[in-house]
Symmetry: C2
Subunit: 427 residues, 2 copies
């Protein structure tokens, strides 16, 4: 059969990985795809040497030109960014009646509904396995493997940079800033780390998973997003003592009142599968009403895993697989009804730094009582009269609103020295 | 669009689950599949009440009649068994030019190559997500999600009955026969448990996974199969002490000399993902050369998870997905070159029951030395001069052949009272 001809925009780590993978396993891929898959055209910012030959490939300085190339059957967009050339290329590819493969989570999280409508009108495919959790085929599992299920909950460790930082902080007893600097040197974190450590990248991925899981149009602005900058080594040590691991989780849940979408650090009880996922690994836990819980774990990023996901999409396209972008037609996607974060119900870990003096605890617990919050446990180690000591409170299930009101009051107490650290507990 | 009309053969737990799932989520499934999926015909051994209505459905006493029914677009085979009516129905369905969905691991493990060739000739699909690991979409992950990878290793907990028994033995300190009786009462084990506890069921599933992973024709007779009947509470206690969990694993590995295929109890180090999978859960660990390790965990059996897998296959068929049975055309499937079990290399846990008397250990270690086997550790607790005591030996990496020869010699020692217990260690 005639080869599937691929145009790749963006020749960074992932683009290079895709070129290498397609070359290394050409025979295997042709057998599985039913036809060869060949890179025929490329667009990248510079023509510097990348360790593989681009001889014989069509070269475009303007990525959008790939969409209209007569030598390209499918476009792989690896430029990144929600707008700009990535979006222009995606739109041009669909308009040209060609399938699009992309690893671009920002693009899909921000413009997924519009792109899906355009793809549907053009009867074309947008495939994005590489956009979420790298080597874990979670898009396929949700969109196809669990297609017979109502999914009630998706929770996951979706950002390897944050998980590496949190794991290293715990294992080596170091603080956030110190570990971040190291992660940057090792290439695990960007020079500007905010997309990762402030939770934006995880939130993009969560928005995609939620759209698929619930068949709902997700408005990215509806996500509650917190990052890991404020996690202290003190909290990590208390977590250990209480039987938890601190993980940056993305959680999408469907409840009676609507869908809640949140990215924040969480205390995960040891013994839960997500608690054991360390380093740069990603993991996702899905809850299907018929399938039950399904847990997936693997490498979330990097050349090999992400290239593996891109190539899986290309093989699907070569095989003629055509599934709607969000697993169902755009017309059947409802706008998500969102539960506000203030309505969240759960248990909370609260750490206060207080002056060790008589009456502090009585003042704190009185405020909690006034907001209907009851405590499961309280920890204070050692005594340092007149000095600053940490007090840890673990609440029973309560509402986010009650906790916020109570903390506003607690922060006003003269003996409370800094803003409380608050970490939600996820069972 | 016109509905996809489904004929179901076999209305046991899984068949009933499929009927219920398709009814319960009819709207969701129609949105995702792009057309309604409706059960139109049924074949089962008796017409007894099953808690759902079969009114209006075509009824066939002979399951093979479903294949030729004018009201059936796709046949779901849930009869079970490698031969007999299940095989006849599968062949008739393909011959009739209709897609087949099956949960029948024995059928695929024994006749998968022939059925795939027939399906390919008829340009038809055989889908079997439900045949392996229930609610975990591992067939899809291997055949599609990791299609760009050379998979070097598949290992998994593939039989929930065995995992339930081993977990309960460990947690409650009870012996095999006792826990098996309970499992039978609870419906976790069959009246004749041999398919499960002797490893046959896990081996069927492993043969399927290996065929997919390696693109190779697997001859079921090539699998090395051991069950869990000989696992004693003593071995479980020693495993705990040494930092292992005993699991019945199915392992398929590709090495330089060929493919090894084996099902046997194994000592899995705590800290490995498979060690933490307890009760009726299943799990699979895959190793892709680009994706890296991918770990999947979920419910391996039962009405809901298995029905979820069957319905995922039906939705794929409704969506027009057509992927070769083994992920590549029959012509490209090579016969597997098999590494014999005797050539297996690994570490071994060996438990001897010996008379506690001077010189026993010297005799045992001399035999091990003569076969080139070195020890990592040795355990003997307490002293009971003249009585029977267990001695545990943990070897460094060695060959299966060396261990077998050494044990044949050790068994001859007068102080060795019973056949040694041997459990392979899987890192």
């Amino acid at each position: 059969m005639s080869p599937l001809r691929v145009g790749i925009a963006g020749l960074g780590t992932v683009g290079g990985g895709v070129v290498k993978l397609l070359a290394a396993q050409a025979g295997l891929i042709a057998a599985r795809a039913g036809r060869p898959i060949e890179v025929t055209a490329i667009s990248a910012r510079s023509r510097r040497d990348r360790g593989f030959s681009v001889a014989g490939l069509e070269w475009h300085d303007d990525p959008v030109a790939l969409a209209s190339s007569a030598n390209v059957d499918v476009v792989v967009e690896l430029i990144g960014g929600a707008d700009g050339p990535a979006k222009a290329l995606a739109e041009a590819t669909i308009a040209a009646g060609k399938p699009l493969v992309t690893a671009n989570k920002a693009l899909l999280a921000m413009h997924g509904a519009a792109l899906a409508a355009a793809a549907e009108a053009a009867a074309q495919v947008i495939a994005y396995e590489a956009a979420v959790a790298g080597g874990i085929p979670v898009i396929k599992v949700l969109r196809e493997g669990l297609a017979g299920n109502q999914v009630s909950r998706v929770s996951g460790i979706l950002n390897g940079t944050c998980n590496y930082i949190l794991t290293t902080m715990r294992e080596e007893g170091r603080d956030f800033a110190d570990v971040l600097t190291d992660a940057q040197k090792l290439g695990y974190a960007e020079a500007d780390p905010s997309f990762d450590v402030d939770g934006i990248d995880a939130a993009h991925k969560l928005a995609i998973l939620a759209g698929l899981a619930f068949g709902a149009k997700i408005n990215f602005a509806d996500l509650h997003i917190e990052g890991i900058r404020r996690i202290s080594d003190l909290d990590i040590a208390f977590a250990e003592e209480l039987g938890y691991r601190i993980k940056l989780l993305g959680i999408a849940e469907r409840g009676a009142a609507g869908i809640s979408l949140r990215v924040h650090p969480a205390m995960v009880p040891l013994g839960r599968p997500l608690a054991t996922v360390d380093g740069v690994f990603n993991a996702v836990q899905l809850e299907g009403d018929f399938a039950g819980p399904v847990f997936l774990r693997g490498r979330g990023a990097g050349e090999g895993p992400t290239a593996s996901a891109v190539v899986a999409d290309l093989i699907d396209i070569a095989r003629g697989v055509r599934i709607p972008v969000w697993g169902q037609s755009a017309a059947t996607m409802a706008a998500a009804r969102i539960t506000p974060m203030a309505a969240h119900q759960g248990a909370y870990f609260i750490r206060l730094m207080v002056v060790d003096q008589p009456g502090v605890l009585a003042d704190v617990t009185a405020i909690l009582r006034d907001h209907g919050i009851s405590l499961e446990s309280m920890l204070q180690h050692g005594r340092k009269p007149g000095e600053s000591v940490p007090i840890v409170l673990v609440t029973h299930e309560t509402s986010e609103a009650a906790v916020r009101f109570a903390l506003a009051g607690i922060e006003q107490l003269p003996a409370v020295l800094e803003a409380p650290a608050v970490i939600r507990i996820e069972a």
